[in-house]
């Protein structure tokens, strides 16, 4: 049982062209038993961050501490962590049993019979008891994935580190393993850092998610907070599929002026802007309401460009009648709508996000019935 803390962690690589910053000044604390998902686009430094915690990558500056003990200079052999690799990295010359007992044999002085017992218990937990004598090459991808998990679980480490463990599975198996992994982590109560580029995994699995971009930490919060109250434009655009619509706008005379539309603001929002004039207006596709006729100044005449039916909902690409700007809205799957239709898009005042165009920082997030949100977060 452990708390893990990263304090101003920085990692740079030397290259011919100079210094490359992979992880820049990341600070965060992970509580005992917490499941933290680190998410970001590829190349954002999330794997490097995980490898620094694992001791596979040196730390340029800053500290990583486990249970309030700085472990920068502790070799990964002595860190009492277990890692699940994207490629599983199962030892091909050992049986499943050999793979699972290797870590216990090397890191503890337990007698052989006790190790054997722990291995069979863990195998039972994961439903791989019947595979123990087989070689990794004889297993399917899903089975290999379970063995890789088992190899980590059997060691009962202070921290689990997982580097995109589900990304080599097919979609159906991935969804199944996602749920299973979550349940396992809850049962075992081991502090876990889980790296992924998949936002579904990030949203559904973690107690909290940490969003990384260009080596910098953008936001660490619960999934719902990140989704509804993003700290900046990057987080807002990264989470959600289809992603949030953004419009470059200027704030003039109490109105947001865009290429294709003017959007009047209420007094509360105006105050939040605090004098900034170059802004970005954001609205999530599911918050856009489609109507027959315009009835107020938040309604805009648009033409349907493309409709992508998803079954439960339709993704509708809309084009403003004036200007060239487009936006994406999601409509109910039973809505009858087709390309070329004229529709009115309503952008509700309570659902808009406003970002500073220069810094990307969120100036105003959608208003939520905060009781509902905190209830959802409890």
């Amino acid at each position: 049982m452990a708390t893990l803390e990263l304090d101003s962690v920085r990692k740079t690589f030397q290259d011919d062209s100079g210094e490359i910053v992979a992880v820049d000044d990341v600070s965060t604390a992970i509580d005992d038993g917490e499941f933290l998902v680190v998410v970001g686009p590829s190349g954002c430094g999330k794997s490097t961050m995980l490898r620094m915690v694992a001791g596979l990558e040196s730390i340029t500056s800053g500290t990583v501490s486990l249970n309030n003990r700085v472990i920068n200079d502790v070799k990964s052999q002595d860190r009492d962590i277990a890692m699940v690799f994207q490629s599983y990295a199962l030892y091909p010359h050992m049986s499943v049993r050999g793979n699972m007992s290797f870590g216990l044999e090397e890191s503890t002085d337990l007698p052989d019979d006790q190790i054997a017992e722990m291995v069979s218990e863990t195998a039972e937990l994961l439903g791989i008891s019947n595979l123990l004598e087989r070689r990794p090459t004889d297993l399917s991808g899903g089975q290999q994935q379970r063995v890789a998990l088992g190899r980590a679980i059997v060691r009962d480490p202070e921290v689990f580190l997982m580097d995109e463990p589900l990304s080599n599975l097919d979609a159906k198996l991935r969804a199944q393993m996602r749920t299973e992994l979550q349940r396992l982590q809850e049962d075992l109560g081991v502090t876990t850092v889980y790296v992924t580029h998949d936002q579904t995994e990030a949203m559904t699995m973690g107690d909290r998610i940490a969003i990384l971009n260009d080596g910098r930490l953008q936001q660490v919060a619960t999934p719902l907070e990140c989704y509804h109250e993003p700290a900046n434009q990057f987080v807002a655009g990264f989470l959600g599929e289809p992603s949030m619509n953004f419009f470059d706008v200027r704030f003039e005379r109490g109105v947001l002026v865009g290429d294709a539309f003017e959007y009047p603001l209420g007094p509360e929002v105006r105050e939040a802007l605090d004098g900034t004039t170059d802004l970005v207006l954001g609205i999530r596709p599911e918050d856009i309401e489609l109507a027959e006729t315009a009835s107020n100044d938040h309604d805009f005449a648009t033409t349907v460009d493309v409709v992508e039916p998803m079954g439960d909902e339709n993704t509708v690409h809309l084009k403003f009648d004036e200007g060239v700007e487009t936006m994406i809205a999601t409509a109910d799957g039973f809505t009858r709508i087709s390309a070329g239709d004229d529709v009115v898009a309503r952008i509700p005042a309570e659902s808009i996000h406003v970002f500073d165009r220069e810094t990307g920082e969120a100036l105003r997030n959608r208003s939520l019935d905060s009781k509902t949100l905190s209830a959802a977060l409890e």
Binding site: A54, G55, L56, K75, S76, Q77, D78, R79, I81, A82, M83, F85, S87, A89, Y91, P92, H93, M94, F102, G103, E106, S107, T108, R151, R155, L161
Partner: protein, 351 residues
């Protein structure tokens, strides 16, 4: 054979239509003949013995067996004659008493006299034991040194390519050159090895004169020449192991030594086997090295191996049949090395 060549010309010149054979013969080339539309019971039901044999061969060995024989048959016959034919001829000679200046071996009286003579000959026993020691010690030492070099180079040292070339270079030298080179190195009076040992107060040692040491001196020289080869084979094996295996072992708590011993080296089994087979074959061919070392058929006392003894018996002493018998024993040893390897590769579906 007639059928074979007819079929060949049929296969190669089908479009030219110059095959003027008619009736049942036309069928054998597999072409669609227009007059087949009217079945003629007499000729059609009995295609003739040659065609039947051809069809049977096709059924058994695949439809292109005869047609492709133009390409594989000539080299097959050449190898059959000059390799396998020579082995069989050698075996026959070893069963005769052929020696001296007799015109031809007498094949009328075949027995195993030469083999019993070999078993009673202390020179043969010594040579056989030396050959085995050479095979095992040379192969083992070369593999160990090669593995060590490969692991060191694989750990990402500077000037990796230069080191790789330097270590591999001795293998490109001929046995004659390395033998001369080590003759100088081992020189009793002013060889580098003895000079170096002299600085720490050992020696001088007569490496090539002392029959308890000379075999080991030869093994060391051969190891120097071939450890670069073992290194390259191991390096290729190491490069095929994903980095995650090293990292997983580290995270699992294994020390560097344990990581190599339990996770990395076991995965080099394939590389070890193929390098060992090649090295053993080189070890058996150490004749050139010993011949150049002394410039004759009589290697230093204590370093006689089967290959040198075989040549000496045959060409220096004109004991043709006895030399042939030794050659057969050597052939048996080579088979014992290669055979299991072939079986291993066959099981892994590489053959």
């Amino acid at each position: 054979m007639f059928d074979l060549y007819r079929r060949l010309s049929g296969a190669l010149g089908r479009s030219s239509g110059n095959d003027n054979a008619s009736g049942n013969e036309a069928r054998t080339d597999g072409g669609v003949v227009s007059d087949r539309s009217v079945p003629e019971p007499g000729s059609e039901s009995d295609p003739g013995p040659l065609a039947r044999v051809g069809a049977a061969v096709d059924r058994r060995l695949g439809s292109d067996f005869l047609e492709s024989s133009l390409f594989w048959l000539p080299p097959f016959l050449l190898i059959a004659l000059f390799v396998y034919g020579a082995i069989i001829w050698n075996l026959l000679i070893s069963l005769t008493d052929y020696r001296g200046f007799a015109n031809a071996p007498d094949y009328g009286n075949l027995d195993f006299e030469m083999y019993t003579r070999a078993l009673a000959d202390p020179g043969f026993i010594d040579a056989a034991v030396n050959t085995l020691i050479l095979l095992v010690a040379f192969t083992g030492a070369t593999l160990a040194v090669g593995l060590l070099l490969a692991i060191l180079i694989d750990r990402g040292i500077r000037f990796e390519n230069a080191f790789r070339t330097i270590y591999l270079l001795p293998m490109s030298l001929s046995f004659v050159v390395t033998a001369q080179f080590w003759l100088w190195m081992y020189n009793f009076n002013n060889g580098i090895v003895n000079l170096l040992l002299g600085t720490v107060g050992i020696g001088p040692i007569s490496f090539l004169g002392d029959q308890t040491i000379v075999l080991w001196a030869v093994i060391f020289a051969l190891m120097w020449q071939f450890s670069g080869y073992a290194m390259v084979v191991y390096l290729a094996g190491l490069r095929a192991i994903p980095t995650e295996h090293y990292e997983a072992a580290q995270v699992d708590g294994a020390s560097t030594l344990k990581m190599y011993w339990r996770v990395i080296i076991p995965q080099l089994k394939g590389a070890t086997i193929s390098a060992a087979v090649v090295l053993m074959v080189f070890g058996m061919k150490a004749f050139d090295f010993l011949y150049s070392l002394v410039g004759g058929y009589r290697p230093p006392n204590g370093a006689d191996i089967l290959a040198t003894k075989m040549v000496r018996e045959a060409y220096a002493n004109l004991n043709w049949a006895y030399g042939a018998a030794i050659a057969i024993v050597l052939f048996g040893m080579a088979l014992a090395v290669i055979g299991p390897y072939l079986v291993y590769e066959y099981r892994r579906n590489n053959l």
